[in-house]
Symmetry: C2
Subunit: 244 residues, 2 copies
């Protein structure tokens, strides 16, 4: 599990118990949330409620009353929508620094659960919203974040609407690599804490097609299978697939 080391750095979270006033989480939130300025972070930190969310545990479900806003500080969460017959579409993976539940509607329009052990900072929506009223600059930042998420979603529309299975996997890996680079450092190794089923449900494919595509990339030495992820051997090959 990719964050196992990180979680050991500090007393373990007791299951899904609430863990208020955890200074580690607060510090992590401050250092990790690169989308906001110091001033904004500090005003937010006064209303922070840090929590641990163990792997595979639910953060919130589609339709729940959206009383909280979250900021992921560690680990990875999957955000998804379910159709009544069980089909699932993962609409995104949240990494440290990402906000969840920012849409101003009163109910969550998607579900979120922890892929591996996740740490979040939780805010009461009412107090968060209050901060927004007092600090227009914070609201502007938030709007920037939402606009950015919209652009990402629109890019994903192209992937789901018009790209082949091979291309989808290539786009996915390069995008994920880039996102990890913003948190850690740029590395040819892409951690994949999520399951093949998760990747399939994100890319609008089946688990078998995802598996076969990875196998093909392994066979042709485009990728190397490493524990908990893949290493990109032939960057150019993937790049070509994403650009055409």
């Amino acid at each position: 599990m990719v964050t196992a080391g990180a979680l050991q750095r500090h007393p373990p979270c007791a299951g899904s118990e609430l863990q208020v006033d955890c200074q580690h989480c607060r510090a992590r939130f401050l250092s990790v949330c690169n989308a906001l300025s110091d001033e904004e972070l500090h005003s937010l930190a006064t209303i922070v409620d840090p929590r641990c969310v163990p792997a595979k545990t639910t953060l919130f479900s589609q339709g729940d009353e959206a009383t909280n806003v979250f900021n992921v500080t560690e680990g990875m969460a999957r955000l998804y929508k379910l159709l009544p017959d069980g089909r699932r579409q993962i609409i995104g993976f949240a990494l440290p620094g990402d906000f969840l539940g920012l849409s101003l509607s009163d109910r969550f329009s998607f579900s979120a659960d922890a892929v591996d052990d996740v740490r979040v900072c939780r805010f009461q929506r009412t107090r968060f919203s209050q901060q927004l009223d007092e600090k227009p600059h914070l609201l502007r930042r938030l709007h920037e974040i939402a606009s950015n998420e919209l652009m990402i979603a629109q890019d994903q529309l192209v992937v789901l609407g018009r790209r082949s299975a091979e291309e989808r996997v290539a786009v996915f890996l390069l995008a994920l690599r880039k996102r990890f680079a913003a948190i850690h450092h740029l590395s040819p190794t892409v951690p994949l804490p999520m399951s093949r089923q998760d990747i399939a449900d994100y890319l609008g494919l089946t688990i078998e097609t995802v598996s076969r595509t990875f196998s093909k990339f392994f066979k042709e030495k485009t990728l190397l299978n490493v524990p908990d992820g893949v290493r990109i051997l032939n960057f150019e090959r993937l790049n070509e697939l994403t650009q055409r």
Copy 2:
């Protein structure tokens, strides 16, 4: 063409010529933009530049410097992304009241052109942005609009990732009907000013599959082919397809 009548109500626009200080457009903008309060509209109206965009004409292209923000007041625009090899994904259709180019990035991340004759109100981004700084409430409204667009894009991810051709067409028709209802009134007739190719590129299908699906709906009396659109005969059938 669906807006032909409306366009005749007022002196015709001369090709793609700029048409500043067109009072009709200004009035239309004020009445049609239901997302904003009166006060906000009036402060915006002072920086409005009304324009006519004839059918099939470009509003702006992906990568262009985003010097303007637009609000559609009449007609329909298609918003799309192109892959280098020519594949196209339409990410949305803009109807009266919809904003274009709100993302705060300095370049457009998609292209937009007129499906039928379109009227827009154009704002200089700099002045628009200035208004935002002065009126935090306006910014909040804008953020609501962006959040709403994000939700729509995420719904579309489910459509493109997990739904069959029949379901996609059903979802498309019912969603479009609902959007027209907000502008005109709820009617079983859904205007379709866009081409089959446009619908295909929006739904991640081919033109043939879209055509076949419509034909199937016509044959089974779910839909009736009418000039410039379809009439929904069996609402329950479509509803069933979208809910499962």
